[in-house]
Subunit: 298 residues, 4 copies
Amino acid sequence: MQVGLIGLGKMGSNLGKNLIDNKHEVVAYDLNPEAVKEIEKYGAKGTNDLEKLIQSLEKPRVLWIMVPHHVVDSVLDNMKPLLEEGDIVIEAGNSHYKDSIRRYEDLKEIGVSFLDAGTSGGMEGARNGANYMVGGDRSAWEIVEPIFRDTAVENGYIFTEKAGGGHFLKMVHNGIEYGMMAAIGEGFEVLEKSEFDYDYEKVADVWNHGSVIRSWLMELTANAFSKDAKLDEIQGIMHSSGEGKWTLETALDLQTATPVIAMSLLMRYRSLEQDTFTGKVVAALRNEFGGHAVEKKN
Amino acid sequence: MQVGLIGLGKMGSNLGKNLIDNKHEVVAYDLNPEAVKEIEKYGAKGTNDLEKLIQSLEKPRVLWIMVPHHVVDSVLDNMKPLLEEGDIVIEAGNSHYKDSIRRYEDLKEIGVSFLDAGTSGGMEGARNGANYMVGGDRSAWEIVEPIFRDTAVENGYIFTEKAGGGHFLKMVHNGIEYGMMAAIGEGFEVLEKSEFDYDYEKVADVWNHGSVIRSWLMELTANAFSKDAKLDEIQGIMHSSGEGKWTLETALDLQTATPVIAMSLLMRYRSLEQDTFTGKVVAALRNEFGGHAVEKKN
Amino acid sequence: MQVGLIGLGKMGSNLGKNLIDNKHEVVAYDLNPEAVKEIEKYGAKGTNDLEKLIQSLEKPRVLWIMVPHHVVDSVLDNMKPLLEEGDIVIEAGNSHYKDSIRRYEDLKEIGVSFLDAGTSGGMEGARNGANYMVGGDRSAWEIVEPIFRDTAVENGYIFTEKAGGGHFLKMVHNGIEYGMMAAIGEGFEVLEKSEFDYDYEKVADVWNHGSVIRSWLMELTANAFSKDAKLDEIQGIMHSSGEGKWTLETALDLQTATPVIAMSLLMRYRSLEQDTFTGKVVAALRNEFGGHAVEKKN
Amino acid sequence: MQVGLIGLGKMGSNLGKNLIDNKHEVVAYDLNPEAVKEIEKYGAKGTNDLEKLIQSLEKPRVLWIMVPHHVVDSVLDNMKPLLEEGDIVIEAGNSHYKDSIRRYEDLKEIGVSFLDAGTSGGMEGARNGANYMVGGDRSAWEIVEPIFRDTAVENGYIFTEKAGGGHFLKMVHNGIEYGMMAAIGEGFEVLEKSEFDYDYEKVADVWNHGSVIRSWLMELTANAFSKDAKLDEIQGIMHSSGEGKWTLETALDLQTATPVIAMSLLMRYRSLEQDTFTGKVVAALRNEFGGHAVEKKN
């Protein structure tokens, strides 16, 4: 199938190669000429002109957008005047499901089908077998299912029948991911503080063979320890790209108690701080009522 | 290797068969004659007389205890007078690591080696390939390593060099397990409360193919939904058998912040209640200051 | 000072009487004729016609809105065409601070000053001495400060110089309130589950005399227990009116770790449920890997 | 009443003066000669010889122990041979209630009554009006109630009828205190991170006049900010002296969900760390699957 691929970042270029490996025809667009050149070498047609890209595609067009979520709207704004009834737009980044519903409604007005596709599995997955959670109209889905089937791992995709359903599922997936990662991290912190002197790579590796907590994340934990046995070289600063926050915000809107996901997110924020104002207030209060010493700044 | 197996419950009988499959000689003990009969059929010698069991074994004896953790001490009390220098006792249940250290010290006085072996992988693992985390003396370990190697999955065991190190690792493993399970549960609760109508078996199955959160627990989640699509038939009462509590208690002793593990445990306790006193107090307070209505008991 | 009071609910009617007690002239509006009649008896002029109310006031008008936060916009829409340059609108309900900033900007365009006033102290405070946190323009504040000073407890108000600053402060106040209430509730739950048989009214009363945790909330706790010694008659269902949620959402936007406020909110949501899907998933998983029994629905 | 006061630290010396102010006869013991001299100046008899102290008291003796909780047992060991049937020992430090029950049982064997007295209100309370929560035998209580009544604030003491009941109540009091302090701290952290520029002393002061969250802790918060407007000079390191931990441990034993108390404790532990191993693991995992950059150590 011919696919117009918009965005050749880490994920997009890996996906492009994955599509080509699976005999799909890729016409790729990015502003970065290096990225375009690279995918051309691999067998795609490339361009840095979005208008040309769209005009060159067979109709009905299949367009796959893989760009950072904060630029999706501007990309869509540029594309919209060039699209025609029957075209299918797949948006496979980490967008908020409410944005996806809005975009679906917006493109529906001009007869264009919008599919929201949450993508998991990391860069490695994009290259060799991703995981997809897709929402939108079944009629469009049936046309493009082959490109999902071919670039996913076996049984690694789901169509959810409803606009926004793909990105919602991806969002919750990431919420679970936050919780799982925090649980793993906390466990190793207990080990690290303990009287025992474990080989963490070996521990993670064993836990990944036959234990209840075997998982890809545990495999990656072993990988990480194999490179830096005590993670001495890195700081425990945990950035986040938004989906954990969205999950908690959604949970709040749905009045759902998700304490584990909440704590995994809040501890990420805590990790961004050297010191906290909460701590200052509590330390000052202990001093006020009990005369407990506070630790002065140097 | 000849193994004296003490305890033929769910885990013990599965392990016994696993040992026999791997050409080890099993002499098994349990008070339950049914359990003894069953393992005899499978090729073990069986007895309901602990003294006879111990006396019948070749020296140095290898004894594998697989009983509920609250009866380990009484089993050891009965065994101790019958043991001799050089014997090796493996305790493979869910004991607290501090009990294991105490038992190690206690048996050391009479020249008996005590190995604490945390076992993961569930009943299925015990039967076909378990996961072991073992602590104690290396000299004893080197003698019995073959029975661990043979009954574990490949690469599925670790020797930690220090008494208590096996059960400590198992304890933390279970703490991680609590957090992971809660994260998965919370994620599905967000799905359940959402505007979308997902097929949870399909979701769990897809998440187990290529996604970041693929894991044995996610596979089991798919299994559970395959039997009861919305889990309508069961109540969300989450019992616990102690290791999560031990992990949190240990974290407190080590002054380690483990909020995700803590919350996963506290929500299990919360699930045991129909109503909470906390809730009554808060509801009453809202009424006191704001005139907000309280919900009366019927 | 002449004050146009819009809204005669629990808070508004108490405030009206408080204003009258302090020699202010109240012209009051509500659609409910009973409420209007009651405040008229107490010495106010009353009306159920918003237009008449506004037209009857001396200029520059001082209008005090005390209505549920979800109707503030419609009240303002009705008022706006009737307002003139120099008028001052005080909005003293529980509005989101971002709405207050928007309303401030909106009214500024027609030369009307908008003050956002968070109000604490409950109904009793509104009647006999409230607590105010006010944001907006200083020029307007200086005109109306007397009505705040007179109806507040001594030292019980603050002007924060910036639009939205009053409601933001009130929001955070409520977040703290959520955490404090949960802490008190949890403490009493530990007492209730303990081997001791305390007289909770007496405990709360003693804790309110000289202890570190003495507070108005503890006084109210004693009041609540004085009416129902074990709170047997009420259910622990903890509703919420939004400010705790806003506090957490704001904390997330500011990447601030507020675990105590987060948990106090999530446990309110948890209290709305008889059972949880999280619990079902975790119970099912324990059954899957460990054969632990689940509790069936009746 | 004649009181043998053992321990003249911050709390003990303040209590001694409080007793003397209230016309009680104080015979005081401490190893520190300065402390003894100071209380002698105030009107007590003093000694640094425990045996002499006990022998000099009228029978039945009333002994009030106010020493750090980890030395209570050694003090009691020294005292026990000198005590006689009918003597009353009050232990007013921060002991674990289970230790108090054990001590009660132990002294009961020789006919000595042991009262466990939790003390709140800080140093200021010990000096001018404390708060007491007392457990033990009523017969002993009735003899010594006057010294509690006189040194407490009005209505500021409770007798709980059962050994351990005083220290249990004090423990839970401190658990609530942890939660309240954290809630206050988190609230101010949200303010600090916000777009507003509040005067925190003024905010705390206003919140303490008429608001729902008015409390002694809020008064102390205003005090703290009055000395250091933004707490710039202190670090947010939150030490703890054990009672919050005991409360959570007790809650776990009672299977009680106390998430707010739990989080307030865990965040204290978190504040003791510059960096966390949890954070390193999570950061490393994000790098493994998503190529997200980690922050390197300098």
